[in-house]
Amino acid sequence: MDILIEILIYGSIRSITLALMALGFALVYGTSRVPNFAHGALYIINGFIVWSFLRLLGLNYFFSILLAIIVIGVIGALIYQIILIRVRGIAISEIIASYAIGLAILEGLRWGGFKGMTYTLPTFIQGSIFIVGVPVDLHRIVVLICGAALIGFLWLFTHYTRIGLALRGMAQDERAALMLGIDSDRMAVVAMVFGSMLAGLAAVLLLPLGNIVVESGYNVLILAIAVCIVGGLGSWMGAVLAAFLIGFAQILTEVYLGTHFKTVVALLAIIITLILRPSGLFGRQKELEERV
């Protein structure tokens, strides 16, 4: 009984974590069809930006987070305006270019000496509580609540605001959106800014749970891709559902098989989904675009 509750609680936390990691990627891909392989790098670099504001400039924690989110949004916009916009629509060049950006950022950080145990962010609230006999850090509860709130906010945003509706319109049919006066390049920048900010927010929420290490940038990218593919590339709510699927699968394998298999689950999920149903469990089937 105890282990069941533990699986339930930690499974939900893991699922929300995965959803947080993936939302930015899903938003950018869904809107502009650019698979942003620099997503993991944006996540990590935001952690370091917050750390620098906090430790080097000595700013207040809340202000450093706010500033860092703005900075990461600007970085995202610059990446799109300077580089990605030139290769947009050439599927492979998009992947290679964005991956090269991510690689440059991550390995640059590693070269700059950002590695090891020394880089940590403080948790929002110290301490832990017991939920039906299972100990949970308060910070994880904060992650759970913030994550759920963010998903809800995103749903409202994409359904009831002009920009959100424009983003969705572009995701559904870019030409029709163009015809209705939605500037697709501008919307793509907006999507990229929001995507980077979401990556940054995820970093701010999740990094206090451990050290800021460069390697996790790659893991975040893999997990984000896994969630988005299982959920269906371009389907945002599908991504949230897929996050729960993969999150619980990961927790279950961790409990019954050992922690080594955590990433294996995510990778297998990607491969099996792509082979059986490339548009994902919740995506709309676009048969000829995906396979012959």
Partner: protein, 337 residues
């Protein structure tokens, strides 16, 4: 003259007739003009090991050749069949582990284990990729990127095949000249073999698959068969390189599934000129030595080649070889508009 009032006129040199690869030669000079670039490449590669100053740089040549084979396989799959495979590390890893097992358990010498690992590895890679063949574009790219990661993690998690330590004590080549000339000859063999292959009938079908797979299917040609053949050819190159790598490092381990083997060949292809087959080899000969020279800077060299890759893909996506071919084979002059 200002821009807008003039344009560049390009004329093919006289030897070229109607289409690519068809020439009319009128003199020895024209023959020399045609064969010169090829001879420079072949002779240049053959004397490379002789002019290298030290053992270290001779080893670098071997590594360059490994990357050249991988780049060739990437270029062939991406620009002649339309399957963008980011799984260079998958081929290297399969070939390397098979060669290492054959050598350490069955005791086969390199000259036997490398050919076997080439064929066996290619079969295994093709079997793995077979269910993914119908996927197109981004989807195929992502799935091939995931395979080496998955195999690496599975080996780590299950602790099989030596686990994180890898397979130690793989036998090396007995003679360092054999070691180098073997891989150089293999690069030349595959390079000219592929150039011939893409101009045969089967190469024509490959290109048709890339341009319009629906039309190929409508012509009653079995798409899956041709894609399988192409993947087999490409993965045999990668597995050959992997088996060779296991023997020169005397070790097969998890770092054979590292992303380096997937990314650097792409960078080499983009820089060298995609769709030329010679370009990727040239790109490998430029990138790998630079990356060796920068070894002292640690991971900065990865930043460096990521930035080169970025610059080329955004601003000069044709690559060196396409540019060079144009300059060599065409007259250019400005004409008034």
């Amino acid at each position: 003259m200002e821009i807008g009032h003039r344009r560049k006129e390009r004329l093919d040199r006289g030897v070229k007739v109607r289409t690519e690869g068809l020439y009319a030669l009128m003199s020895w000079r024209e023959l020399g003009y045609l064969t010169m670039p090829r001879l420079v490449l072949i002779i240049g590669m053959l004397i490379l090991p002789l002019v290298m100053p030290s053992m270290y740089w001779q080893r670098v040549i071997s590594i360059v050749c490994i990357y050249a084979l991988l780049s060739l396989s990437f270029d062939f799959l991406a620009h002649f069949v339309g399957l963008v495979s980011l799984g260079g590390a998958f081929f290297i890893g399969s070939g390397g582990y098979i060669a290492a097992i054959l050598n350490t358990i069955l005791g086969l010498p390199p000259m036997v284990s490398i050919p076997i690992s080439t064929l066996l590895g290619a079969v295994i890679c093709t079997l793995f990729l077979f269910p993914c063949l119908p996927l197109r574009g981004v989807y195929f790219a992502i799935i091939t990127l995931m395979f080496p990661l998955l195999l690496g993690r599975v080996i780590e998690a299950l602790d099989i095949l030596g686990g994180t330590d890898g397979i130690l004590g793989v036998g090396s080549f007995t003679n360092s000249w054999v070691e180098q000339y073997f891989i150089i000859l293999m690069v030349l063999f595959y390079l000219f073999g592929m150039r011939r292959l893409v101009n045969l009938d089967i190469g024509l079908v490959f290109r048709a698959v890339m341009d319009n797979d629906q039309a190929v299917r409508a012509s009653g040609i079995n798409l899956t068969y041709y894609k399988t053949v192409a993947v087999f050819i490409a993965s045999s190159m990668g597995c050959l390189a992997g088996g060779y790598l296991a023997h020169i490092y005397m070790w097969a381990g998890l770092s054979m599934f590292a992303l380096d083997f997937s990314i650097l060949p792409i960078a080499a292809t983009v820089i060298g000129g995609s769709g030329t087959l010679v370009g990727p080899v040239l790109g490998a000969f430029i990138l790998v030595p630079i990356s060796e020279l920068l070894r002292a800077f640690g991971t900065l060299r990865i930043v460096f080649y990521a930035l080169i890759l970025l610059a080329f893909i955004v601003f000069r996506s044709e690559g060196i070889m396409v540019y060079g071919q144009r300059k060599y084979q065409q007259f250019e002059k400005w004409v008034k508009v």
